[in-house]
């Protein structure tokens, strides 16, 4: 019996607020003498939720197909065809939303906002590529992701990006992921979706900033392979780490490496690693000392990052509209700025007290303190970890793709003489049977 009463109270409250705010019933709705009948308000229904499930199904099927094509068939042309299909379907047909990259934020919001629950299809979009990566490497990036596909499609004349530059630029993606998760957790906004560079192309319309940024990325992408995937994609950051652990993954050669060097420049994304050679003795000693130093540095970096993130809470909090509003109202109330803006007018029209707003904004600021500290610690950890991993000697005897960086596009297969042998055998096998 409590519920209906609560609803009644809520309705009454709404009514009072509504009347006060908008001055309803200035003119009482008329009683008509003629037989005029008031039209009812019609509002078009949203498209059926069925599509979401179709999308999830298509995602699952294409991921399976991509796995087969990349790991078993090893056919670049078919991979490319599948990629084009996914670009057409997820990109142009389904308008590129929701994608797994953005879904990271939906998952975060679900965890932190009690009022939001993630739709099942979005959850599938988030989790399925991760699971596939854990088993088969980045097959999602290779053939299914529409953002990857549009960049892959425009890649015409790849140039090599020096390893040092690549390592530096990749840090941006980690920052982007950290910021995306932080702002989603605080309910400020979905920053990753807000600055999605390609969604404007998928819809053939968008804000001009969006289109210009996207066009620039695509222009760069004609020469630098998949710049968004390699240097910006926040989801790619997660996939990189999972891919390191994957059960099966892309190999250049179907059997064993004969060290022919032919594949050396095959990868437009700079993911092929050469066999290593033993270091000179002197280098070993330096490396050991460096490693020790970096191991000590790691916790320092994490601590410093956490501290800096906490200290930056005021700046981070400014991303939240509520905090920006509080700031603006404060400036206006103390005559530190001239005039009002739409947001402050709206605030006054709704009749919330400024103290209430300040309290809410201060609370948000404090939450940003915790979030900022975590973000800072994460960034410190990433940089420390990166330095460590760049200081460890790896042992490699063959040419192989770097498990983290390999986007599973399948371009390198045909550079391997052993692959040609395999194909020939396959053809002969077909003829024989």
């Amino acid at each position: 019996m409590v519920r209906p009463r609560l609803i009644l109270v809520a309705l009454a409250a709404l009514l009072v607020v509504g009347v006060a705010a908008l001055g309803l019933e200035r003119f009482p709705p008329p009683e008509f003498e003629t037989d005029y009948v008031r039209p009812t308000t019609t509002a078009p229904n949203p498209p059926q939720g069925l599509w979401e499930y179709v999308d999830a199904g298509v995602l699952a099927v294409t991921l399976v197909l991509a796995t087969v094509l990349i790991l078993r068939t090893r056919n670049r042309k078919l991979i490319f065809a599948l990629m084009l299909f996914c670009l057409a379907y997820f990109g142009f047909f389904r308008n590129g939303c929701v994608c797994p990259i953005g879904a990271v934020q939906n998952v975060t919001l679900t965890i932190f906002d009690p009022g939001y629950a993630i739709p099942l299809a979005v959850l599938v979009f988030f989790a399925l590529p991760l699971v596939f990566t854990l088993f088969f490497g980045r097959v999602f990036c290779g053939a299914v992701c529409p953002l990857g596909a549009i960049q892959d499609a425009v890649l015409i004349h790849p140039v090599r990006v020096p390893r040092w530059l690549e390592s530096g630029l990749r840090l941006i993606a980690y920052l982007y992921l950290g910021a995306g998760v932080l702002f989603a957790a605080m309910g400020a906004m979905f920053v990753i979706c807000r600055y999605d560079p390609f969604v404007g192309f998928f819809r053939l319309s968008g804000n001009w900033e969006m289109l210009v940024v996207g066009a620039c990325l695509l222009l760069i992408g004609m020469f630098v392979g998949r710049p968004y995937c390699r240097f910006l994609c926040p989801y790619g950051v997660i996939l990189r780490q999972l891919s390191r652990l994957s059960r099966w993954r892309v190999t250049i050669t179907p059997t064993d490496c004969i060290q022919c060097h032919l594949c050396e420049d095959a990868c437009p994304f700079g993911a092929i690693r050469k066999p290593t050679e033993p270091w000179p003795n002197k280098e070993y000693q330096v490396a050991r000392r460096r490693l020790a130093f970096l191991l000590v540095l790691l916790p320092v970096l994490i601590g410093a990052g956490g501290w800096a993130g906490y200290e930056l809470r005021q700046w981070l909090a400014m991303v939240h509209p509520e905090v920006r509003l509080a700031q603006r109202i404060y400036l206006e109330e103390n005559a530190l700025v001239e005039g009002t803006i739409d947001a402050s007018d709206a605030f006054r029209a709704l009749g919330r007290s400024s103290d209430e707003l300040y309290a809410a904004a201060t609370q948000l600021r404090d939450r940003f303190g915790i979030g900022g500290a975590l973000l800072g610690a994460f960034v410190g950890c990433v940089i420390g970890g990166k330095l460590l991993s760049l200081s460890v000697k790896r042992r490699r005897t063959d040419y192989e793709p770097d498990p983290a960086s390999c986007l599973a596009c399948g371009r390198c297969y045909r550079y391997c003489p052993k692959e040609h042998e395999r194909l020939k055998r396959g053809r002969e096998g077909l003829v024989r049977h």
């Binding site: 006060a20 015409i156 004349h157 020096p162 390893r163 040092w164 530059l165 690549e166 390592s167 530096g168 840090l171 920052l175 053939l204 319309s205 001009w208 060097h261 032919l262 050396e264 420049d265 095959a266 050469k274 066999p275 290593t276 050679e277 033993p278 270091w279 970096l301 800096a308 200290e311 930056l312 005021q314 700046w315 909090a317 905090v323 509080a326 700031q327 404060y330 400036l331 109330e333 103390n334 005559a335 530190l336 006054r348 029209a349 709704l350 009749g351 919330r352 007290s353 400024s354 103290d355 300040y358 904004a361 201060t362 600021r365 960034v379 940089i383 330095l387 760049l390 200081s391 550079y415």
Partner: protein, 582 residues
């Protein structure tokens, strides 16, 4: 023959490559052309179209002045149609050029990729002499880039951390609420007749002698632009008052030390008030209600029912109309503040139409926090908020009720049926009693500790030897002093209402009497201030003349007395006030 065919087959990839290349070039050119069209269309929509729309607005504005001719109207309609047609055309164009762009880009990419595949050089691995050294170099280079990234991030963070914190409100929050406490108000003169509306100053250093003719004792004098019978209110070094004519309603803020007009705030006359053609009695005027402040904002209400809030810098925070009041002599109740709310006693009509209200409006937004409907006719008294036994009570006088409400939510605490007629003198709270006057009839003292209807139980005493029709009472804890508008002072014991003395000042008064440092201040309409000692006997201490007619009650600051004449505002006192509050 054989030779020729061989040559052809060798040329085939070459020809295919050439074709692909040419196709790519052509498609690329088209792509650029379509891109240019697309961009120019975009510029058209975002730059040229708004210009036209502005032109339309201008044309409309031009016509507003006079009688539009058919031709002008046709022009406007033509332009409007053009704009709308243009918009549709541009939308359509954007669609088409967008698709064309997409197709040409796709074609360019396909051809370009094909050309690339057809002309791909065979893999030519670079032979690096020392792979080991190169790998060490690469790792070192990468480490340094990461370090550079770290330094950049650290630098940016350091820069931001050391620069001023952007969130100013956080510090503001820590300094407390955005309104003054009742204790702070006690040291100010934040409303009509000061703290509690009792007309009693906490300062003991109030001047006792001045002369308007010679300027003796007068610190400054400054003209008030618009007339009004409201009294000044004081917050620290700022003096607020307001004035109005039929067309204009203004709020003034003066510097207390120099008398400079700091700012003028404008309160628009609402269209309803313009239409209603309010014509108040001349003695009331258009701006009889005294302003009130909560220490952060000041509030003003006019005879039109237009109420507004300003911050101390003169920025209008909000204004609204409470509806044109139906008041026989013109609306005159002054405002009161409670926390960050402004309290409005809005009694109107003859009581039969259910028009009267008591409002609490949110000071920052003007939103109604609560309102109480009252079945009472128009009145001219002002509300007071006083703390009684640790609990604030909002006390108002109407016909026939003296009422107390909870200022937090408007809930009624008690009511006493003890008044009648056109009630005008406001209540005061003194010696544990609420004192209320029914003009020409009686003074009644109510113990404000009851609940519900206390008419039978909580009326301490009634003194029925007459009551002032305009001026409010003032009390010193022992006695209560009444001043009738024709100059008769009536002093009664506060404890039981026994009359102590009567004294005729033989002058006319509309300003209410006040009390400071044991001295009574009576300001006559001619601007003569009679100062007398408070006590069981009338003992005159002196008279000071201002030389200007006065209708408003004086306001008391630290060592200063502020008097509003019909045209000027006077500050009486020393340049530097040295005294302290009691």
């Amino acid at each position: 023959m054989a030779d020729l065919s061989q040559q052809t087959s060798a040329d085939e990839p070459r020809v295919a490559y050439q074709t692909a290349r040419t196709t790519a070039k052509v498609a690329g050119t088209f792509a650029i052309v379509f891109l240019a069209l697309f961009v120019s269309n975009f510029i058209g929509t975002s730059v040229i179209a708004p210009l036209r729309e502005n032109r339309l607005v201008e044309m409309k504005a031009e016509l507003r002045g006079g009688d539009p001719t058919e031709e002008q109207l046709a022009d406007i309609r033509q332009l409007d149609l053009q704009i709308r047609r243009n918009r549709m055309w541009r939308l359509d164009f954007a669609h088409k050029s967008g698709y064309a762009l997409l197709v040409s880009v796709v074609l360019f990419l396909v051809a370009g990729k094909l050309a690339r595949v057809l002309n791909e050089p065979p893999p030519r691995p670079r032979s690096i002499p020392d792979v080991g050294a190169e790998q060490i170099r690469e790792a070192r280079g990468s480490r340094w880039t990461v370090v550079a990234g770290l330094v950049t991030l650290g630098g940016v963070a350091a820069l931001l951390i050391t620069s001023a914190a952007p969130l100013a409100f956080v510090e503001a929050k820590e300094t407390g609420p955005s309104y003054a406490s009742m204790e702070e108000k006690r040291l100010q003169w934040h409303r009509f007749r000061g703290p509690d509306g009792g007309g009693v100053s906490v300062f003991t250093n109030i001047p006792t002698e001045w002369d308007g003719a010679t300027g003796k004792g007068i610190l400054w004098k400054t003209a008030v632009p618009l007339p009004g019978n409201n009294s000044p209110v004081i917050w620290n070094d700022r003096i607020f008052l307001c004035g109005a004519t039929e067309q204009k309603q203004e709020v003034y803020c003066y510097d207390a030390n120099a008398g400079r007009l700091l700012w003028t705030g404008d309160v628009p006359v609402s269209p309803a008030a313009t239409q209603a053609r309010i014509d108040p009695m001349e003695d009331t005027g258009r701006s009889a209600s005294t302003m009130a402040t909560d220490g952060k904002r000041v509030y003003a209400i006019f005879v039109t029912g237009d109420i507004a809030a300003f911050d101390f810098h003169g920025r209008r925070l909000w204004h609204k109309s409470l509806g044109v009041p139906e008041s026989a002599y013109g609306y005159a109740s002054s405002l009161e503040t409670y926390q960050d709310r402004v309290i409005v006693q809005y009694d109107q009509g003859d009581g039969s139409e259910d028009l009267s209200r008591l409002y609490a409006l949110d000071g920052t937004s003007g939103r109604i926090v609560w309102e109480v409907k009252r079945e009472v006719p128009n009145s001219w008294t002002s509300p007071i908020v006083v703390e009684i036994e640790g609990r604030p009570q909002l006390i108002t006088l109407t016909d026939p009720w003296a009422l107390a409400n909870d200022p937090a939510d408007g809930a009624e605490i008690w009511r006493a049926d003890c008044l009648g007629g056109d009630v005008a003198p406001s209540p005061i709270y003194a010696g544990g009693l609420v004192l209320a006057i029914e003009p020409y009839s009686h003074l009644v003292a109510i113990r404000p500790t009851g609940q519900g209807d206390v008419t039978e139980t909580h009326i301490a005493w009634t003194m029925d030897e007459g009551g002032p029709d305009i001026c409010c009472p003032v009390a010193d804890g022992q006695h209560v002093y009444l001043l009738e508008s024709h100059g008769l002072i009536l002093c009664c014991r506060l404890a039981d209402g026994e009359k102590v003395y009567e004294q005729d000042l033989r002058d006319n008064f509309t300003a209410s009497p006040s009390l400071a440092a044991g001295r009574l201040y009576f300001l006559s309409m001619d601007g003569v201030m009679t100062i007398a000692e408070a006590g069981p006997e009338y003992k005159e201490l002196g008279k000071s003349e201002l030389g200007e007619k006065c209708h408003a009650s004086p306001a008391f600051g630290n060592g200063r007395l502020y008097i509003r004449g019909l045209e000027n505002l006077y500050c009486i006192g020393e340049p530097v006030a040295g005294g302290r509050a009691d």
